[in-house]
Symmetry: C2
Subunit: 329 residues, 2 copies
DNA sequence: CCGCTTCAGTGATACGGTTCAGTGAACCGC
DNA sequence: GCGGTTCACTGAACCGTATCACTGAAGCGG
């Protein structure tokens, strides 16, 4: 019962033009002002709307941008997805949002599917930035990487994790913390992720005693991991590589009857809006989500429109000190 | 440089069959086992993958489900969107997520665009369930409404708001609260939303002194609205129609130096995972997001596959008492 | 051995646009 | 007045699949 929609040929018949002329006219190409006007009038009259699918088949462009998130259980990534989706809508594009759930294998599969869907471009937060399929993918479709770098084959909004890690660890050390647990998102088996490398390097430089644990983003999983970190005689501070994970530490502390920052200090990495509402407020590294969203949208649209495909934007973090780190000095 | 993909005709040529036979074979239709095997082998050999766009044009089905959210600033709706997106992926569909930002006009426009995109079905959380375009839309594409009812023209996962409101208000009254502010999401100008009607009715029944204020979902906006509610001599409790809005009340209380629940009590409506982490924990109405997600995914896939289009699932809420409501008795 | 159904597969067309090469007319300078 | 452009538009092919109407052969009961 969906009443049949008008086609371009009907508009052509109504105006006495060829379908080709109508196609051009509707896109403001190659035709006289007057004809354009006539075509527009007829189109409105007939309630004509171009069929995006037919258009995509003929032109090879879908107007869609794939957004492949590392793990949407991370509230910060949710914010990112919402922002990007809105930003793209303003450029008359749709976002196809997919979630790799922290699994490199799924990430590969989804990236593939996104390409098969013929998205005009992709924004990804790589789970496994070292995976061998990235360069190949980047060649067949414009990719913008957020966070970790994709070996220079894509456009990038790169976090200066070196800076971020330094900011966090120096803050902790300045307040007298030396035994620190690091809770990092579950990742591919590649232990040499840039961020992790920086942690190790900085820990060494600052003379810190670090222990690295992994946790997936969900609150439950993060809480479970936090329990492991918060055993008696454990570290004086926990540095979480995502605010979402830090929330798990809050939950675990609650369950264990530990006070933050009395018994243990916590640092996050993101600055999600909720972080300021907790008690105590979460001290965290602010990655300026608005800036990231804007840059990613800008880069991907430019690349999808045939522009530069290898631009690089570096995000610099700032420290947001609230009350979750105790001064031991 | 995207190396040209194999088409169905090449597979046909390779197997010595007609393109039609290949098309059937790949979908497991109408052909002999043996041919099917041969076709599959050839397809793999050539790296053939069906083009979703051509397929959509020819068959009229895109495999996409539109998800039209009332306002993605609401963290609970974000969770919902993530859940639905995952659920649909398991059924080999894609979710096209759009955000009406609480604006009825935009909602109409986006619904239209979603239909033009030829989604196989839609899941919506109507901002303005009384808008006149819904019935018409429901006829041209299967729609599943979440939350408010769409006048029986769509399949529905309906919240029993009557129950939810009763639960909340009776809880507040039982603890001695009579002067209550209600913070409800910004809505269309229709003042007779079912949920709002229930609030009024229940307030009357319980002999409560209610004041209704509106707030949009963003933390900043909700905080601003909360400031209005928390003026001196104001209500003893604030009932928020979304946990996200309650978070705004927490923020406002922080800024004003008010204690929760010492100076003012707060109730939410959703039970977002973060609500248990606040101090004090937010007392709220639990809508069982998993159940809603599953029901919505089930209904929309069934409808998109040509099944029943008017099923109705009613969600019943439970009260989650934490520490944000003070006992005044 | 005949007529009827079933099965496996074919050819053609539809889906609704885009795009390329080409065409006639108008316009230009010389 | 003529060659060369530019302009506005046309016709036809094309994108890659699905689907409808058929066909020849095989299988069947009587």
């Amino acid at each position: 019962m969906p009443r049949k929609r008008a086609t371009i040929r009907e508009v052509a018949k109504a105006t006495g033009l060829s379908p080709a002329a109508v196609s051009y006219a509707l896109r403001g190409l190659q035709v006289s002002e007057e004809t354009m006007e006539r075509v527009r009038a007829a189109a409105t009259e007939l309630g004509y709307e171009a069929d995006p699918i037919a258009r995509a088949l003929a032109s090879g462009r879908t107007g869609m941008i794939g957004l492949l998130c590392g793990s949407l259980e991370d509230l910060w990534q949710q914010s990112l997805a919402v922002g990007i989706s809105r930003g793209l809508r303003e450029k008359d594009r749709y976002a196809l949002i997919l979630d790799a759930v922290g699994d490199p294998a799924r990430e590969r599969a989804l990236a593939q599917q996104l390409r098969d869907q013929r998205v005009d471009g992709m924004i990804v937060q790589p789970v496994d930035p070292a995976a061998p399929f990235w360069p190949e993918l980047c060649e067949s479709v414009p990719v913008v990487a957020i966070g970790d770098s994709l070996a220079g084959t894509a456009a990038e909004v790169v976090f200066d994790n070196r800076d971020g890690v330094t900011l966090a660890l120096e803050h902790l050390r300045a307040l007298g913390h030396h035994r620190i647990a690091v809770l990092t998102p579950t990742r591919a088996s590649t232990p040499d992720r840039p961020a992790d490398v920086h942690v190790t390097a900085e820990a060494e430089r600052l003379g810190l005693d670090m222990e690295v644990l992994t946790a997936s983003h969900g609150l439950a999983a993060a809480t479970e991991a936090a329990h492991r970190a918060l055993r008696p005689g454990g570290p004086t501070a926990v540095f979480c590589f995502a605010d979402s994970i830090a929330y798990g530490v809050y939950a675990a502390a609650q369950e264990l009857g530990l006070s933050i920052p009395g018994d243990v200090s916590v640092m996050g990495y993101d600055d999600h809006p909720m972080s300021g509402l907790l008690t105590p407020g979460l001290t965290t590294v602010d990655w300026n989500i608005d800036g990231i969203v804007k840059a990613a949208v800008r880069l991907v649209s430019a690349a999808a429109d045939g522009g530069a495909r290898r631009r690089r934007v570096v995000q610099r973090p700032t420290l947001k000190a609230r009350g979750s780190v105790r001064d031991l000095t």
